[in-house]
């Protein structure tokens, strides 16, 4: 038997004929919709898919998308970016983080700027790569600036698990993990919110199960479809949502059946629970959302860079520029091109607001791909 190749995982899910067939079907079905519907794709990965593959160009005029807050880099408040900057500038510290985080400007600049001033800043694909860096630099303190939703949290937990088991002395964590359901709840609690249905990120459910979304149809009257990230996945999910409206159903459905179960990955959940507990978190663009973050449990204080370096970390909350309308964009009240500084003062190379900072933010995706919509 031939071995499985990477392309086998996506080839069929980008098939032009299938995408066109879904577009035709959605257009036909959508004629039966009693009123226009607004679907929020919660996750930045979906925003990226929608913009990169031009999905909006394939939809009828009565289906709208609202781009949600699910990009871990975009929602990071400036004061926490400043934490990373300050930590990176400490003597004998190596600051390690994931990808796009390096580009995001705080009040003194980005980690990229810190690096050009001599700080040792590195990015890794897996948090476990910190182990190698720590081993090669025994006289340095390696601080992992952990970011991400439920998808990346187990990897941070696995890092700490290994650090404790192997008694590694020079790895510390600055934890900025957040969870998906809380901001969704916060958004629909806002009376001005126009969201009618959700597209749920499937990779989050691979870890946490589809059960985490059951409250949205049940308690809030919002249908949700847990969707994969390829264009065919997204088109199929949109057609499932349209069908729910036409048939008068309000349910949680899973499109990404190839990897999502109701319970999710129990082992990963147990690892998360062992090291993290729910904490309040301030979201850039959305403000304080209770119990929406995951912090290190108190018994692991000696690994907690936020506590160890408490004295030097800035505490003051920093708001975005007053012309920035990222908060309204996240709530669906405005779209990126309606912002007065979109594409002028605020660009991917010089982001002002949260939605422009990462390639998964709504404004960045519009800037890069969306100006033909």
């Amino acid at each position: 038997m031939n071995s499985l190749e990477l392309k086998d995982l996506y080839d069929g899910f980008r098939d032009a004929r299938t995408i066109k067939a879904y577009a035709k079907m959605i257009a036909k079905e959508a004629q039966k919709l009693p009123r226009p519907i607004n679907i929020m794709e919660v996750c930045g990965g979906h925003t990226h898919t929608i913009m990169k593959y031009g999905i909006l160009q394939l939809l009828p005029s009565n289906i709208h998308f609202v781009h949600g807050p699910g990009c871990p880099v975009c929602i990071m408040p400036k004061e926490r970016i400043d934490h990373a900057y300050v930590l990176s500038m400490q003597e004998s510290v190596i600051l390690v983080t994931l990808g796009d985080m390096i580009k995001v400007p705080g009040s003194n600049g980005s980690l990229q700027d810190a690096r050009s001033k001599g700080a040792d800043v590195r990015f890794v694909y897996s948090p476990l790569d910190c182990l190698k860096i720590a081993q090669e630099n025994p006289d340095k303190k390696v601080i992992f600036f952990a970011i991400g939703f439920e998808t990346t949290t187990p990897m941070t937990a696995a890092l700490l698990d290994t650090v404790i088991k192997q008694d590694v002395k020079n790895i510390f964590l600055h934890v900025n993990h957040v969870t998906v359901p809380e901001p969704m709840r916060a958004l629909i609690s806002d009376e001005a919110c126009i969201i009618d249905a959700f597209l749920g990120p499937s990779h989050v459910s691979v870890i946490s199960g589809s059960k985490i979304y059951e409250e949205f149809p049940r308690d809030w009257g919002k249908p949700i479809v847990v969707s994969g990230f390829e264009p065919v996945d997204v088109m199929q999910s949109i057609s499932m949502i349209v069908k729910q409206f036409i048939e008068g159903r309000c349910e949680m459905e899973v499109e990404y059946k190839r990897a999502v179960t109701r319970e999710g990955n129990l082992k990963a959940q147990a690892l998360n629970d062992k090291y993290f507990h729910k904490v309040d978190f301030r979201w850039r663009g959305l403000g304080d959302i209770p119990q929406s973050g995951l912090g290190l449990r108190d018994e692991y204080d000696r690994y907690n860079a936020e506590k160890i370096y408490d004295a030097i970390l800035p505490k003051e909350e920093i708001d975005d520029h007053k012309l920035c309308i990222c908060g309204d964009i996240l709530k669906g009240k405005a779209s990126p091109p309606q912002c007065s500084i979109f594409g002028t003062a605020c660009k991917p190379t010089t982001p002002v607001g949260s939605c422009m900072v990462s390639s998964e933010g709504a404004c960045s995706a519009y800037y890069k791909y969306g100006n033909l919509v």
């Binding site: 190749e5 990477l6 392309k7 996506y10 032009a16 995408i19 066109k20 577009a23 990965g45 990226h48 913009m51 990169k52 593959y53 031009g54 999905i55 160009q57 394939l58 871990p72 880099v73 994931l98 990808g99 796009d100 985080m101 390096i102 580009k103 600049g109 990229q112 700027d113 690096r115 050009s116 001033k117 990015f123 694909y125 970011i147 991400g148 939703f149 998808t151 990346t152 990779h203 264009p231 991917p348 190379t349 990462s358 390639s359 998964e360 800037y367 890069k368 791909y369 969306g370 100006n371 033909l372």
Partner: protein, 330 residues
């Protein structure tokens, strides 16, 4: 612009352009420089310079020596010039192994032969450990123009756009090597001298409007430069851009766009429509160009923009890459 230099300013994309414009063009301003071609054209001579700092020095498909010759010779070839005379300056870090140096110089020698060029002047500096990363090489080249009038400022609606081979191999190879990723054994840099391909096209009488090798910033940067310099819209069929399965795989895993990855033996051509089939046949005669393809056309739909069209009928702008090459995170 930032107060201190960041790595993004060496990316071949947006920040890099800004740095060049605001610092170097400002100081050196003159008519030849401002044409922004791959090589300066002075009478019937073409002249170009390039410095090489790749890490690792030896990688699948080539090494810094081959790269240093190909890089400069290719810039000359892109102006329709035959590479003739090169200079070679090296800055070597104290402690560097002589054996490695000899290997590098030997690859330079064999690549010079392919181009029919010779090194006629050179310089050697050795600096204390830590002052450079192992070895930096600069080459400057002079070439004799065979077909005059090739310019990135002349692309028009009479032209179609071709790419000579599958894109992104160099960027993907270097990234995988740097990150210590165990990748498919067939992935290797496209680093290659382009003059033989260019010569074959010119010998056959193909009317070439513009050529540019898609180094840092990749194919996306070249197309955008042309759209801006020639004030045209370039419309590209995404499915026709040749990308190997190995490069596609790396892009999938790390969130890159193949069009933004660097190349060292891949070039984009704008040629008059009538010559498209002939040019494609000639290119496909070269083993590495099996995937050569006509990828798009030139219009006035959105002047100074590049449009990427999907097989399912949607389209988007393809922008000049920006930032450091970083993976998306989740």
């Amino acid at each position: 612009m930032t107060k201190t230099i960041t790595l993004a300013q060496g990316n071949g994309g947006e920040e890099n352009n800004e740095l060049i414009k605001k610092v170097f063009y400002k100081a050196f301003k003159n008519e030849i420089l401002e044409r922004s071609e791959d090589a300066a054209v002075i009478g019937n001579l073409a002249m170009s310079t390039d410095s090489f700092t790749v890490s690792p020095l030896f990688f699948a498909g080539a090494d810094i020596g081959k790269l240093a010759v190909c890089g400069t010779c290719n810039d000359l070839a892109m102006m329709g010039a035959q590479p003739k005379y090169l200079t070679c300056s090296v800055i070597i870090e104290e402690g560097f192994e002589v054996e490695s140096l000899e290997r590098i110089v030997e690859s330079m020698r064999s690549e010079l032969a392919i181009n029919g060029a010779v090194v006629v002047s050179g310089d050697t500096k050795v600096v204390p450990k830590g002052s450079v990363d192992k070895i930096f090489i600069n080459t400057t080249g002079l070439g004799e123009i065979v077909q005059a009038g090739i310019s990135s400022n002349n692309v028009s609606e009479e032209d179609v756009i071709l790419i000579n081979r599958d894109i992104g191999c160099h960027g993907a190879t270097i990234f995988a090597a740097r990150e210590g990723m165990e990748m498919s054994s067939t992935l290797k840099s496209d680093c290659n001298s382009l003059y033989p391909q260019v010569k074959a096209l010119m010998d056959a009488g193909v009317r070439i409007t513009a050529m540019r090798d898609a180094t840092r910033g990749g194919v996306a940067a070249v197309l955008n430069e042309w759209a801006r310099q020639s004030n045209v819209c370039i419309e590209v069929e995404e499915a026709k851009i040749p990308v190997s399965d190995e490069v596609k795989g790396i892009c999938e895993m790390l969130g890159f766009e193949a069009t933004a990855l660097a190349n060292e033996g891949t070039f984009v051509l704008a040629i008059q429509k009538d010559y498209a089939i002939q040019a494609l046949e000639i290119l496909k005669g070269f083993e590495v160009c099996a995937m050569a393809s006509v990828v798009g056309e030139v219009t006035q739909k959105y002047p100074q923009k590049v449009i990427l069209k999907s097989p399912w009928g949607t389209s988007r702008f393809l922008e000049t890459p920006n930032g450091e090459l970083l993976p998306r995170i989740c």
